[in-house]
Each structure stands twice: as C-alpha cells, then as structure tokens.
Amino acid sequence: MKHFNIPGRSLVATVFVAALMTSTAPAFADFWSDAAKDLQGATIRGISESTPPSNYVKDVLAPQFTEKTGITVEFEATSWDQMYDKAIKDMEANTGIYDFVYIEQDIIYSYLARDFLVNLTDMLAENESLKSPDFDATKFTTFIDNFKNADGDIFGVPMEAFVKVYLYRKDLFEDPAVQAAYKEKTGADLKPATTHAEYRQIAQFFTEHAQANGMEMWGTTVQASSGHPASVYEFIESVLPTYGVYNWGIDTTTFAASVENGGKMNSDVAKEALAWWVGNLEFAPPESTSSTWDEVAATFAAGRAAQGLVYGENAAWIATNPDKSTVVGKVGVALPPVAEGVMDQAKSGEGYIGYYDGGAFGIPHSSKNKEAALLFLQYIGEESVQADWALAGSRIVHQATYADPKIVEQDAKVDGYYTLMKDQGPLFRGAPPFPFHNQAREAMAPFIYQAITGELQPAEALDKAAAAVDAELKNLGYRK
C-alpha cells in the first residue's frame, strides 16, 4: 500500500507546483518575451554563406528565437560570392533589406572603414531593456577581438571560428603494410609531415601507391580552383605563412607588395612557396583545379586524398558523419607543415602558421529592425546554444564550449581537433587588417590562376601579381 501511496502523493504535489507556476507565469516571464514584447510580429532578414554553422542558425536557432520572441527570422544562406555581393550592395545603397549580415573576419576592416556596421557595445549600453542577462562578451574566445575597433567596442557577435588544419588518413598512415612500403621507398618513417619536403614526399608516395594498387586516390588535396578566389586564399593564407611570408606579402605600413617597393609578395621565398604549392597538383586529384573549400572537403571525405589542408568547419562531419563521408573514424588532425624557423616565429607572436578563419553577425546601419536584430545576435551569442551548434558545425567561439561533455566526446572522434584549436589556436591568425581586402585579392588572382594552369611560371606569376597589387593600391589611393 505504502509502496503505491508515495508516487500518488508526488503526482499531486507535482501537479500543484505546475499549476502554481503556470498561474504565476506572467510575473516570471523570461527575458526574451519581455524584451521582445514591442517587437512581436516583426521580421528580420539576414544573409550568410551556406556553411554547416550557418545552416544550423537557419534550421535550429532562428526557429527557437522566433518561438521565444515572436520575431520571425528570414535567413538567407547562399554562396560565398552572392553573400558578399548582396550584403555590400545593400549596405552601400542603404536599402535596408538585411537586418544582420555575416561578417567574415577578413572583411571586417573594409566594413569598419566604410562605417557600415552598428556599434553593438554602444547600442547595448543605450538599450538596457534589450540587454540579455545571459549575453556576456567576456565569455567568447579571443576571436571576438577581430570584431572590435580600437576602443574595444564590438561590431559583430562571433558565430563561427575554426583553424585550417592538416588532415590526413590516419588509417593509412598507421597501416603497417603502408608504413613498410613507405619506409622501403623513401627510407623514412611514415608520419604526418612537419616540413614541405616531407609533405611532398608523402603526396608522391600515396599517389604512386594508389596507382599501383588500382585505387582512386591521390597524395594530397589542393584548393586550386583556376577561376575562383578560393585558390588565392589557400596560397596567401595557408601556404605563404608556412614559408614565413605573412600578411599576403604586403607591407602593413606602406601597403607595398613588390620587393622593389618594400613588400614580399614576389620575394624568392614567396616564389618558392608558390612553386611548391603548384607542384603539389601533380599528386592531387583531377578535380583539384576546380576545387574551392567545399570541394576540397568533399574530396577528402570521398577518400580521394591521403592528406590535405582542410578548413576546420568540415573536420567534424568528415570524421563523424557516415551519410556524407567515407572516411569516418579514419581521420587524423595535425598542424600544417612549416619551413624552418616559422614555428618559432609563430610561438613568439612574430608570425603564424596558418589561417584562423571565422565570422560574426553584425547589424548594418541600413537595417530597419535594429532592436530585433540585436536581440537575435545576443540569442546566438548565449552560452547555452553553443555546444550543440559546435557539434553541428565544428565551430567554437565560447571558451566554455571546449569543456562541454558533448564536445569532449566529439573531440576524441575528430582526433583532437578541438583540443588542437584550443591549445594551438594562437599559432594561427586571421587575415591582415586591410581595408582593401577584395580589391587586392582580385588584382593578384588572375596571375595565381595562370600559375595553376601553367600559363605562367610561379616566379613570373608573382612578379605580375605584386605589380598588379601595387598598381591597384596606388589607384585606390592607399599608396603614393
């Protein structure tokens, strides 16, 4: 009897407490419904690149926010080119189509130079009722510093951050038969490359090994689209730094690119770097010359490359999602290979070894729903939503996310990618603070493309690229 009475009493008590809570609900309404009471029914529009983290915002966070606030979020996840195209035109023409826009780390300096973005620090200070008690800028990783001005004011709420890492096929690298074949062929032990020469040697070995064994596999990925800026980015942000040429080879004080003007874009070291990178194409799958960041990830996930430099946003799904990847459980993560002395420079803060990528959402001055957008940005910046978002998109922007049990569990499945990002993240760096980011990139791009196709030799391509950037920056008024 007693055995049955206790649950019965509990049930009554539970119902009583629930009824009490329901009856007092208006007095304890959460921040979101209170803050949004004057904004209910509003619609905010945002635009971003279609990536795993952005798609999570569109599919999960935006509907959650709507449920809590009554504010509808229309989220446009489109191609990288279109995203910039639309956002810049909207902000420039002051049309107010978008209430929040994706700000990639490398474009923030251009946007700030044009005063496109709302100062979020000021806006939060001026609108106490819109300040979420759970939004705390100090909880973010140092990546948020990329979106601050000289006074420390925030212009974007980080939504993704990752490092471009060296992925390799751990199963093959640890296969005793493969190791023996490698040792026999090269006289060296098979392990993730730490130098460019080792990387090339491994690439050559696996290409030949695959051919000999009838496998559709090559030694390396190369993000070498011969008509898309992705290839320029891989060279200037992921390859040049590993040779010790930083900031694209452009002097950050004089904005000179060519050696004769004081830059390093066409220095001997830069030419060596381009020759190495283009040379890797010999050991890369045929699709490499049409590969952007997405195709490189797809190539690796399809098991068509033994190693490669891959954007971290793809690391988790490549290593864990069997619906999209054929190499689940076979992925190793390491730091990119570097030239002698570069690692020391990176550790001392003088240099860096690769690209720390990511982005934030900011509110354009042209927005017609700034208050609603401010609420949304705080919602996606809360600590409570970070872990699941990280699982979906391999991105971490909060310090606490690293210790979340879900992330710790996934970290083991992606060979310690998150640990690497946390511990070695300072070795990587975002794009240089150029207000002419796209313009300089477009000036040099045709010559990098021609180096990929072999129309120009690497040295000639960089001489022309540096001259073109110098001319462009002079034309834009940044150089005398």
Binding site: S110, G227, H228, E287, T289, S290, N438, P446, G454, E455
Partner: protein
C-alpha cells in the same frame, strides 16, 4: 480623340517601363563611366575624372584580352550554330520516322535557364568526377580537364553555347525554308542547275534576311554571355573563358570599381553596336546600293 493620341496612350505603359528600366540605368552608367568611384578606395566618394577611365582601358591588357576572347567566342559559337541550325532545318524539311519526336526533343535546351545549362554541363564535365572526362579517360586515355587546359575550357563553352542555342537557329531557318516560294527552285531545276548551284544562287539569297536576323540576335547574345560560362568555368582556367561580361562583373562587384566597370560597359556597348552596324552595312546596305546602281 485623335488616333495618334490613342496610339501614344497605348504605348505609354511600355515607354514608361522602358524609360525606367532601360534609359535611366543607361544614363546612370553613362555618368558613372566618367568618374572614379570605388567604395573601398581611400576616398570612397564618386569623383569626376573625365576620360581617364577610357584612357586606362586602351592599355588594359586584361580588358583587351577579354574583348578579343569574347569576339573569338562569338565567331565560333555563332558560325557553328548557323551551320548546324541550317543542316538540322534542312533535315526537318524532309520526312523520316520519329521526326516529330526528334524535333520536340531537339528544342528542349531552349526552355532551360542558362544558369541550369551551365550547372548541367559542369556536372557532366567536372574534372575527375564528371561522366564525360571519366569515360574519355577510361576508354580513350584522353585527359579532359576544363579547369586546367585553356583550350579545352574555351571549346567547352563554345560547345555548350551551340548545344543551348542551335535549336533557336534551327527553328528560325525552318520557318524561313518553309516560307520560300517554290517557283525559283522549279525554274532553277528546269534551267539545269545542280544542287550546289541551287543552294548558292537561290536558297542562300532567299534565306539571307532570316540568316542575318538570326546572326544579329545570336551575336548580341554571345557577346553578353555570362551566366552559363560563370557556372561552367567561372571564367577560368586562368582567364581562358573570362569573356567581357564576366570581366566587367569581376571589376564592378568583387573589386567594387564602379567607375571603371561602367566605362567598360559603355565601350562594350559601343563596340557591339558598331559591329552589328558593320555587319548590316556589309550584308544588306551593299545589296541596296547595288540595286540603286
């Protein structure tokens, strides 16, 4: 109400739309073409700079290369379409089993959006993974890689354009052939002309207006091609398929060089008009002059 007033009233909506969406943007581009305006320059404001943009264009190797490439593309694409379209039209003039089905199938590319055409061809030709390069390598050992070999990329864009637009030429030719009078052909046969002589001295002159109109339409289309090629090659490899439309897009949008890009657009428009006029003068005006003589 006078009939001319009624006519203008009927025309008014069209004229207003044409003015807003055609004339006004053109005037805007015309003004910007004479300015230096890059929103990410040290000074992002629009500044009048006379004919400086046009002076730069004369020495701009990339612009001139794009222009030359576009003319080359237009020549090969339009010539191929006219020849192929004529032969297909002749084929459809005859009776053969399945003619109706084949004619319907052959016009399908016309109803596909250019961006979808580009995407389809990209899927078929993507290096290493597309079925065409894959089987060419498997069966013939041929390395087809349109993102690496410039000639292959150029040829691929021409073939794609021919595939997409030849049906239009075929339909035009078919209509023209069907409307030709029978008498001149009967007369030529009675006079003992052979098939080539009939083609050269009767069919071709009678078809000339239709051919000319088709060449004008296709040439103007070919000179402003963007979307198909954008999807297929993105203008690459290198600058191998960076036709003038794509080049202007790159200057205006990623580089945000509105002034310089506008001057490129104006020059391209001017050249297109001049080229069409020359073509018209060469093929039609000369004939009219002969008649006057």
């Amino acid at each position: 109400m006078r009939s001319s007033t009624v006519g203008w009233l009927f025309l008014a909506p069209t004229l207003v739309i044409l003015f807003i969406f055609g004339v006004l943007p053109f005037l805007y581009v015309l003004v910007i073409g004479f300015t230096q305006w890059n929103s990410f320059a040290a000074d992002p404001t629009m500044q009048y700079n006379g004919v400086e943009n046009f002076r730069r264009l004369v020495f701009d190797e990339q612009f001139l290369y794009s222009l030359w490439l576009t003319l080359k593309f237009g020549f090969f694409a339009v010539t191929s379409q006219i020849l192929l379209g004529y032969f297909l039209a002749q084929l459809f003039m005859r009776d053969f089993p399945g003619k109706g089905f084949f004619r319907t199938i052959h016009t399908l590319p016309l109803v596909i959006a250019p961006i979808a055409v580009g995407a389809t061809w990209r899927l078929m030709l993507v290096p290493g993974l597309g079925p065409i390069p894959y089987y060419l390598r498997q069966w013939f050992g041929y390395d087809l890689n349109i993102s690496r070999y410039v000639d292959q990329a150029f040829l691929a864009t021409v073939v794609m354009d021919v595939w997409h637009w030849t049906p239009l030429v075929t339909l035009t030719m078919l209509a023209a052939l069907a409307s030709l009078p029978k008498e001149p052909f009967e007369q030529a046969q009675i006079d003992g002309a052979n098939r080539f002589q009939i083609f050269w001295h009767v069919t071709l002159p009678l078809l000339k207006p239709a051919i000319l109109a088709t060449v004008f339409i296709r040439l103007m289309d070919a000179l402003r091609t963007v979307d198909e090629v954008w999807m297929l090659t993105g203008g690459g490899p290198g600058a191998a398929t960076r036709y003038i439309g794509l080049h202007i897009w790159r200057v205006v949008f990623p580089k945000t060089d509105y002034g310089y890009g506008s001057s490129m657009s104006l020059i391209t428009l001017y050249l297109t008009i001049v080229m069409c006029w020359l073509l018209y003068a060469g093929l039609v005006a000369r004939r009219d002059l002969k008649r006057v003589d």
